[in-house]
Amino acid sequence: MMKTNIAPVIFRKIQQNVIQERFFAGLNAMLLPIIGILIFIALWAAVAKNIDTSLGEFPGPTQVWEQSFILVNEHKAQHEKAEAFYERLEKRNAKRVAEDPDYVPTLKIFTGAPTFFDQIWTSLYTVAVGFFVASIIAVPLGILCGLSKGTYAAINPLIQLFKPVSPLAWLPLVTMVVSAVYVSDDPMFSKSFITSAVTVSLCCLWPTLINTAVGVSSIDKDLINVSKVLRLNAFKHVLKIVLPSSIPAIFTGLRLSLGIGWMVLIAAEMLAQNPGLGKFVWDEFQNGSSESLARIMVAVLTIGVIGFILDRLMLSVQRHVSWDKSVSLR
């Protein structure tokens, strides 16, 4: 009698536990992050009121929120100005051509100050180019280091030496070298862009290089034996065995590199006064109006959000190319 009664009770108990567990899992996934953010905003608002700077009170969430809209409007206004400028230019040129068929219309470029969003775009573009250049150097070199102990032994001291160097130490050198070497009458890229991109590249190299080398040198020995028995040539060996098995390691390196590159870029832009988000921050700081701090805070948050999005982007690329979908990617 007892026995028949216990079973369903236990079962119900288990079922209850499962439901509870699911509930808490859902809670963890959704609610806790929101709570975290809310607590942060509350603390921020409370603390900000009590900090007085020479530029007035430290901006709280409300001021920052307002400034972000102002920045959007400024961008729109600038955009409209530019459109109007080009419209006028076109009309004038058309008129001139009508009067004198031999007239070659001059191409003028609107030279308004770049808005916050222009600066975001410049930074994104710069970091993408710098990161791309670093990656196409670091991945093959890392594979070479992983495959050949000799190459690794030769390159390792250089890696160890340059890895800890702060990008800002490179910056003056890079600036001077770019000015000296990159001379052209009609430059495709501006010098400031090249300087920023090269600085980013120099710092993006190392994590990718090291992680790739480690990934390649720790390939399962059995798989290497398979390759030997099949007599895969060097190219096929890399393509069929080495690359697929070291993809996770390569992407770990790439994600680290992109994160570092993004941080480095902002600092480099501030220091070198190169266009981009860093310059925006620096200009606002020099500007020193009562809104400056709020505008800088908008930039800080934007930098964070973009860094986060870049990382997620890399993650989804990794998910896409990696064969091992079961591994949890963080």
Binding site: D222, L223, N225, V226, K228, V229, L230, R231, D324, S326
Partner: protein, 292 residues
């Protein structure tokens, strides 16, 4: 103590020959002699089992034949050519399958087929991949990834991949070691079937006495290392096809079994008595506690 090596095949044409094979591994404490004076002649189509205690050097022998290790002394000759590098004519079935985890079953076999093309056209290659998958009864899982297969299925694919290279010699390192008894029996039957129809020369490492007697023409028993060598060779003179159920009552079968067991557990006994193991544990505990 060891019986002189019987040389039943001396009259036949030489196919695969290990002569005076020895190997020293470089270690921190100087060279470690794992194998010494390994002599073995194998004729075409023979099924050879290597049996011996763990760590005696069976895998090392196999790796030398495969060309993955270089013998320090002596050498291996296959069809009058010295073996000095790995190649598809000596295909290996690895203990833990070693399928490329990012390729489907079909693609895994296809990679081997493409490498050993033998002048096949595209369509012929496709047919050959499918033929080899059918041989191990894996056609139904052709599009699955290795991670989606059971252990036995992976091992089947490993065998299909090796067979698809049309090797002169098939080398198998404990191919069924990680499988349960039922799956193992199943795969043994498959291997017997394939061996009967293709007639490959096979060298298989095993820890399983029944497996060795059931499958082999000859069982090569190795002495314990270091400097391990061939202790005895047992000719298994049983009619093929062999049926595992019929074998249990077969007098000869049981005698062979007995001979191998005698070699392993009397002549090359390595088993520690329980009291000895306990003493060892007690001592190591004392050491670690005094270190702490």
């Amino acid at each position: 103590m060891t019986k002189p090596i019987q040389n039943k095949t001396s009259g036949q044409q030489r196919h695969l020959e290990l002569s005076d094979v020895g190997i020293d591994f470089p270690t921190a404490k100087g060279p470690f002699c794992a194998l010494k004076n390994v002599n073995l002649k194998i004729s075409k189509g023979e099924f050879i089992s290597l049996i011996g205690h763990s760590g005696c050097g069976k895998s090392t022998v196999l790796n030398i034949v495969a060309g993955l290790y270089q013998a320090t002394t002596g050498g291996v000759i296959l069809d009058n050519a010295e073996v000095n590098e790995p190649g598809p004519e000596r295909a290996v079935v690895f203990q833990n399958h070693s399928l490329l985890p990012w390729l489907s079953v079909y693609k895994n076999v296809e990679l081997a087929v493409k490498q050993t093309r033998n002048g096949r056209s595209r369509a012929e290659m496709k047919a050959w991949v499918e033929h080899n998958l059918a041989l191990v009864h894996m056609t139904h899982a052709a599009d699955k990834l290795p991670s989606e297969l059971s252990g036995g299925m992976k091992q089947r694919v490993g065998i299909a991949r090796a067979l698809s290279m049309q090797p002169k010699v098939l080398l198998m390192d404990e191919p069924f070691g990680a499988l349960d008894a039922l799956t193992r029996a199943h795969l043994q039957d498959s291997v017997m079937e394939i061996h009967a129809s293709l007639g490959n020369t096979v060298i298989m490492i095993t820890h399983d006495v029944d497996e060795a007697v059931l499958l082999s023409n000859r069982i090569v028993m190795m002495t314990n290392g270091p400097a391990a060598t061939i202790g005895e060779i047992l000719d298994v003179d049983l009619e093929r096809p062999r049926n595992r159920l019929a074998m249990t009552d077969n007098l000869k079968y049981n005698q062979y079994r007995h001979a191998v067991l005698t070699f392993l557990y009397e002549k090359q006994n390595k088993i520690q008595t329980v009291s000895r193991v306990k003493a060892d544990i007690a001592q190591s505990k004392k050491k670690s506690s005094s270190a702490a």
